[in-house]
Each structure stands twice: as structure tokens, then as C-alpha cells.
């Protein structure tokens, strides 16, 4: 099982962590909510929990709880610019369908 991220995503995560001046990494996760069943979580992490899995990606720790990992295995975190809009995108091979906006999904 593995989670990865693109170098664009890594650059941005490093920048945000530096700016925030604390935190051990970022958490990727899912929770059951949203218009299409599940939605993504993307947060800074100050203390990882003991059950968390940690994936080292370059200089950044990607932290994920075991339950979310089931839904996110093989996901690549990317950073995308679409015109003036920019932000992180989960490229998740497990997704069967998404709501139109991509904020929530089904597996």
C-alpha cells in the first residue's frame, strides 16, 4: 500500500509547512459525508496518532489513518492550476464515481 505525491504538490506542502512554522506533515484522509458518500480530508498534522501510517515523500511526511488508507491506496496527491483557480487534487484510482465538483466520491 502506498500514497505518493507529485513534485508540484510537494513544493506547495513544503512552502505551507514552512510558513506555518510547525507541524510534522500533512494528513490525507476520507470521511463519510458529502453528496456522493465520501469526501477527502487534507490537514496539517501537529501530532501523529499511534495507529497512523506514515509515508515519507521527499521532505514531507504524508500521514494517514489505516481506515482511510483502504480508500486511498495508490492515490497520488497533485497540485493543479486551472486558470486562476489552484489547489490540491487527489488522484485516487479507487474512485468509481464522483459528484460533479469532485469534492466527494464513491468507491
Amino acid at each position: 500500500m502506498a500514497i505518493t505525491m507529485t513534485s508540484a504538490a510537494e513544493q506547495h506542502v513544503v512552502k505551507h509547512l514552512e510558513h506555518r512554522a510547525k507541524g510534522v506533515g500533512i494528513r490525507l484522509g476520507v470521511r463519510t459525508t458529502g453528496c456522493s458518500g465520501l469526501s477527502y480530508v487534507l490537514e496539517f498534522v501537529d501530532d501523529a496518532a499511534s495507529e497512523d501510517e506514515v509515508f515519507q515523500c521527499g521532505d514531507v511526511k504524508l500521514i494517514i489513518d489505516p481506515k482511510s488508507l483502504l480508500y486511498l491506496d495508490g492515490t497520488e496527491l497533485d497540485y493543479v492550476k486551472e486558470g486562476l483557480n489552484e489547489g490540491f487534487e487527489f488522484k485516487n484510482p479507487n474512485v468509481k464515481d464522483e459528484c460533479g465538483c469532485g469534492e466527494s466520491f464513491h468507491v
Binding site: 505551507h16 484522509g29 459525508t33 453528496c35 490537514e43 496539517f44 486562476l84 489547489g87 487534487e89
Partner: protein, 628 residues
């Protein structure tokens, strides 16, 4: 496709719940919009990657033709329909425009409301409408960036903006369809962008005094703030509304002209070439020590030292304004904890050096000085819109000048004192002064002085329909409420009858920024005079009341209870009091005279009391009285 941002632990938004808020720096020359992405404030650029939006709107017969860079291009060809710098006109009255509007090329017309409008080919346009166009353009930029509607915005205004100017800014936002989360003072926004509010929290609320040095293209502002327990208090503001980086360019261009041996009356094209050369030379000298110039058929060198000699006089003017504001604030240079550089013209290293020298402190300048205000506003917007937990940053503003009400004798009774944090509501009870009084004029004032005539009149309204009662029996509750944007509403209610009257204060437009600072200043310098004036007025009111009461009593009971000598004696005493009330400026003298009149009329009062008791008791048995 919604793209995600990194949230604080435990604060990931629900899908479709992320709220989009921006901070807008609505500037005189340029405006910006910023938002917070993954905890960082970022300025949103347009499709061409440009951060700034020139605060310029161009009108054609059908209406607005364009806003921003495109509009600015019409400046030369169509100056009367290309509206720039309208921020200077926001919330101003027609009379103000007459005094300083002559610097602007536009033609003005007054409307019914006393608000000036600008004559354009599309008809009359108010400064509020022009500002709304700029705000609409910036909001549109944000909505494209979010791919979503905007939930709200924090808009910055200069610290010296009065209520009229703030209301005008808010009106512009409403007109543009933007929900204003709050208006924020520009220097406060700069301090937030540098996280000074957070460092204050970390040092357990230790007070910090902050100077914000804001040198833009055409304006200079200095603000002294005190940050204490999460509240920014404006101690003093100052500056020069006609001094900026453009004056540096002019000084250099003038030197160029002399070097080139040209006469003073240049044609517009030559003028522009010289200015552009001067500007780029100034910018190059930020990094290099000298620059080779080639203008028309002239070649030469401008060294950094030479440029300094050209602009030092201008910088010295800003330094003098800083010193004055420090004096106004009652703060010594050495008591300043942080200095922040704001405005593109602070990029000139000489400016930073002189500021550092003045405060003996390395100024904060790591953030882009053009963007810092918008960034601070964006951080504030993020909290207000509810994306970040509020405990993190509880930022309050304070009202800059006390709000009060005029009482008898032209005195001001302060209802909300200056530096009270807003939003706030305060009420006070008043009563009638005369028997049978059925109406009361409420005069709302702003200022620190003791006499109403020395304060700024914000609004007047009347409470009518008070049931006739003896003086002092009516209970009139006057409530002042200031919302989070510093806008005031006043309600007056007579409590026994529940008659109510209220007003939203959209103050009579027009108060110069200098007047505001000088109002504060005056209250300090006139503190003693004011105290005496107040004491005198109080005695005058007391004298008036005594004269009126006595005359009424003599009219009623004088024939029955006084012999002609006594009566004459009282009349003389009253006349003396009346004369003294008009002539003396010594409240103690007047107080003594009031006392002696009171003494002289004691006997008369006692007789009246006896009579009224006798009348009340006449014809009743002792039993009835005891029961009663």
C-alpha cells in the same frame, strides 16, 4: 473540479461547505484582492498575472466601458470620462470638493443629498458608483479563482476615515453585490499580515506599540497603533495626502530636465518621457549604485548618492509627519516595538534607511509592501467567514472618537467613549427640562471636547409625542449602537409611553482627515479650558433654572406671600443673577451668586411650602391624614 487546500487539524470543511472570503485593499491609485489558501494569504492575480488593478474606471455614453489597466489607457485621450483617485472623494460633501477637488480634472455637480457627483458622458456618476465598479471587478477575479460565488469580503479603509467615508465604502460594496464582513483599518491589516496580533498573544498579551509607514504613489500615511489584548487601538494618524513616490519621480525628472538644458514648459510627451525615465532609474537604483541614462539625445549617469540628494527633502517631510504623529500619540520614538513598511514607494532603500534611523529599529518589510494590506484583510476575512476557528484571532476594532449627545447648555454627554471596542451598545436615561415638554431634540455628536459646539455634529432627530408631564418626570432612554463596521444607530424611547424614534447615522458628509486628528489633539490641548467651560455651562443651566422657577413662583404666589419690599429684593437678586450669567466667565462666581439668590428666596420658599401643606391638609381630620 474543486481543488483542495490544506486545513488546520480537525478543521477540514464539509464538501461544499468551504466558504470563500477575500480581503480587498481599495486604494486611491491601485486596488488588490487577496485570499487565504492553505493558511497563507495570497494576492489573486488577473489572467495576465498582474496583481494590481488600477483604481480607474472609464465611462462611455452607454455606461462603464472598462475598469483597471484598460481604463487607465484612456487617461490621456479622454480624461473627463476616465475616473481615477475617487477614493479621495468618498464620503465627502460638495463643500469639501470645492476646496480640494480642484486638484482633480473632473466636473462636479451636487445632488439632493449633498453628495458630489461627477459629470461624465454617461451622466452623473457618484464616487460610490465608481468604487463599486472597482470592487465588482475584483470580486469577479476572485469568483473565477474560486470557481464559486464569494461569501464575503473584508475591505480596508484608512484609519482616519470618518463614519461618512466608511459608510460610503460600505455602500459601494453593497452596490457591487459584495457582502461586507467588516471594514478594517489599513494599518491594522498590515499588522495582521505580519502576524503581530499572534505574537502579542504568544507573549501573553504584552502591549505592543506599532508604527505603520505607508508611502504610496500619491499619498503618505503614518499610523501609530497600540495592540493590547487582541485589540488594535489607533493612537494617532498623520501624513500628507499629496506626497508620494510620484514626487520622487518628479524630482528626478526635474533634475534630468536641468541636465538636458530644457526649459520648464515641456510638452506632455517630453514630460512623460522624462517621468518614465526617472521612474525606471529610481527602480534600478534599488539594486545598483548607479545607472546610465539615455534620454532623447542626452546621455548621463545618475548615482545613488545623487538621487538621495534629490529625494531626501521629500523623505524628510515624511519623517517630520512621523514625529508629529508620535507626539500626538504621546509615544516616544524608542517606545515603538515594530515598524511596518507599506506602499510601493517604500521599496526605495533610502526610505527604509531613514525610517530605521528615525525609530532606531529595523522595519518589517519581508512582505510585498503593495500587497501587505490586502493580505491582512484576507486573513481577517478567513476568520470572519468561519473557515478558521474564531478563538484563534479575535480581533476587535475600537471607535476612534467618543460618541455623545448634546444636553442642556450646549454640553456633550458622552455615551460611548473613544477606544471602546466595537460592536457595542450603550444606553443612558434623560429627562425633560420643562413642565409639559412633549418633544425632545436629540443631537448626536462625535468628539472629545466638552462643549457641543466644539464637537462634530453627526445627526439630529426629534422624539415627539412625549406625554405632558412635569419637568423631570419623563424617562427617555437613548441607546447608541455601533456595529462591527463602526456605523452608528441611535434610538430614543420614552419609557412610560413607549414612544420611540430612531436614526441611522449617515453623518452629514464632509470632515477632513486632518480635522479628525486635530479634533483629538484639541481635546488634549483644551482640556483645562473645556473643564472650565463645562463647569460654567453647568452653572448657567442652574442659574436659568433658578430664574425660571423663581419667576414662576413669584407670578403665582408673589402677591399673596411677599410684601413689596421682599418682592423688590428678590427681583433685584434675580436681575443680578441674570446679568452675571451673561457676563461672567468664572463658574465659581456664578455659583456663589446662585447660592445667594437661593438664600434670599429661602424664606419665600418656606412660606410657599407652608401654604401648600395647609392647602393639602385643609378640611381633613387627623384620622384622614394618618390613613392617607
Amino acid at each position: 473540479m474543486a481543488l483542495l487546500q490544506i486545513s488546520e487539524p480537525g478543521q477540514s470543511p464539509q464538501p461544499h461547505q468551504r466558504r470563500h472570503a477575500v480581503g480587498i485593499d481599495l486604494g486611491t491609485t491601485n486596488s488588490l484582492v487577496a485570499t487565504v489558501r492553505s493558511g497563507m494569504a495570497e494576492v489573486l492575480a488577473d489572467e495576465q498575472g498582474r496583481d494590481l488593478l488600477p483604481s480607474v474606471v472609464h465611462y462611455v455614453t452607454e455606461g462603464v466601458s472598462c475598469v483597471g489597466y484598460e481604463a487607465a489607457e484612456h487617461n490621456v485621450a479622454d480624461p473627463l470620462n476616465t475616473l481615477a483617485s475617487v477614493k479621495r472623494l468618498m464620503g465627502r460633501g460638495v463643500a469639501d470638493i470645492k476646496t480640494f477637488g480642484s486638484q482633480l480634472p473632473y466636473e462636479f455637480a451636487a445632488d439632493d443629498g449633498g453628495m458630489p457627483k461627477i459629470k461624465t458622458t454617461a451622466g452623473l456618476v457618484s464616487p460610490i458608483q465608481v468604487s463599486a465598479e472597482i470592487l465588482r471587478k475584483l470580486a469577479g477575479r476572485a469568483e473565477i479563482a474560486f470557481d464559486s460565488e464569494l461569501d464575503g469580503a473584508v475591505i480596508t479603509v484608512p484609519a482616519y476615515f470618518d463614519e461618512a467615508q466608511r459608510q460610503a465604502t460600505k455602500d459601494a460594496a453593497t452596490l457591487a453585490g459584495i457582502k461586507v464582513l467588516r471594514l478594517l483599518n489599513e494599518p491594522t491589516a498590515a499588522a495582521i499580515a505580519y502576524g503581530l496580533d499572534e505574537s502579542e498573544r504568544e507573549t501573553k498579551g504584552q502591549e505592543r506599540t506599532i508604527a505603520i509607514y505607508d508611502l504610496g504613489g500619491g499619498t503618505f500615511d503614518i499610523s501609530i497603533l497600540r495592540l493590547s489584548k487582541g485589540v488594535f487601538e489607533v493612537l494617532a494618524t498623520g501624513g500628507d495626502s499629496a506626497l508620494g513616490g510620484d514626487d520622487f519621480d518628479l524630482a528626478i525628472a526635474d533634475w534630468l530636465r536641468q541636465q538636458m538644458g530644457m526649459s520648464e514648459d515641456l510638452n506632455p510627451i517630453e514630460q512623460r518621457i522624462l517621468l518614465e525615465t526617472a521612474k525606471s532609474a529610481k527602480e534600478e537604483l534599488t539594486d545598483s549604485t548607479q545607472v546610465e541614462l539615455e534620454v532623447l539625445d542626452w546621455q548621463g549617469t545618475l548615482t545613488r548618492e545623487l538621487m538621495h540628494s534629490l529625494i531626501d527633502g521629500l523623505i524628510a517631510k515624511t519623517v517630520r509627519a512621523c514625529k508629529k504623529s508620535l507626539r500626538d500619540a504621546g509615544v516616544a520614538q524608542t517606545q515603538i516595538d515594530d515598524v511596518i513598511l507599506v506602499g510601493g514607494s517604500t521599496r526605495t532603500p533610502r526610505v527604509g534607511d531613514k525610517v530605521a534611523e528615525l525609530f532606531d529599529l529595523e522595519p518589517l518589510c519581508s512582505l510585498d509592501p503593495d500587497q501587505v494590506v490586502a493580505m491582512g484583510a484576507a486573513l481577517q476575512a478567513e476568520v470572519l467567514v468561519g473557515n478558521k476557528s474564531g478563538d484563534d484571532m479575535l480581533l476587535l476594532d475600537v471607535i476612534p472618537l467618543s460618541l455623545g449627545i448634546e444636553t442642556m447648555g450646549g454640553l456633550i454627554e458622552k455615551i460611548i467613549h473613544r477606544n471602546t471596542t466595537i460592536p457595542v451598545a450603550k444606553a443612558q436615561e434623560f429627562t425633560t427640562f420643562k413642565d409639559g415638554q412633549t418633544a425632545m431634540a436629540i443631537h448626536i455628536l462625535q468628539g472629545e471636547r466638552e462643549l457641543a459646539s466644539d464637537c462634530r455634529s453627526l445627526a439630529r432627530f426629534e422624539l415627539r409625542g412625549i406625554p405632558p408631564m412635569v419637568a423631570g418626570a419623563a424617562k427617555i432612554r437613548v441607546s447608541y449602537q455601533v456595529d462591527a463596521d463602526g456605523l452608528l444607530s441611535v434610538t430614543a424611547r420614552e419609557l412610560t409611553s413607549n414612544v420611540e424614534s430612531r436614526i441611522e447615522v449617515k453623518p452629514s458628509y464632509g470632515l477632513g482627515e486632518e480635522e479628525i486628528t486635530s479634533m483629538l489633539q484639541d481635546s488634549f490641548s483644551h482640556a483645562r479650558d473645556d473643564m472650565q467651560a463645562r463647569a460654567l455651562r453647568e452653572q448657567q443651566v442652574e442659574a436659568d433654572r433658578m430664574i425660571e422657577d423663581l419667576l414662576a413662583a413669584i407670578y403665582k404666589d408673589g402677591d399673596a406671600l411677599l410684601d413689596s419690599e421682599e418682592r423688590q429684593c428678590l427681583k433685584v437678586a434675580i436681575q443680578e443673577l441674570r446679568d452675571l450669567r451673561e457676563t461672567t466667565s468664572e463658574h465659581r462666581v456664578l455659583a456663589r451668586q446662585i447660592e445667594s439668590v437661593a438664600k434670599a428666596s429661602e424664606e419665600f420658599a418656606a412660606r410657599r411650602m407652608d401654604v401648600s401643606i395647609k392647602t393639602a391638609l385643609a378640611g381633613q381630620t387627623l384620622d384622614e391624614i394618618e390613613k392617607g
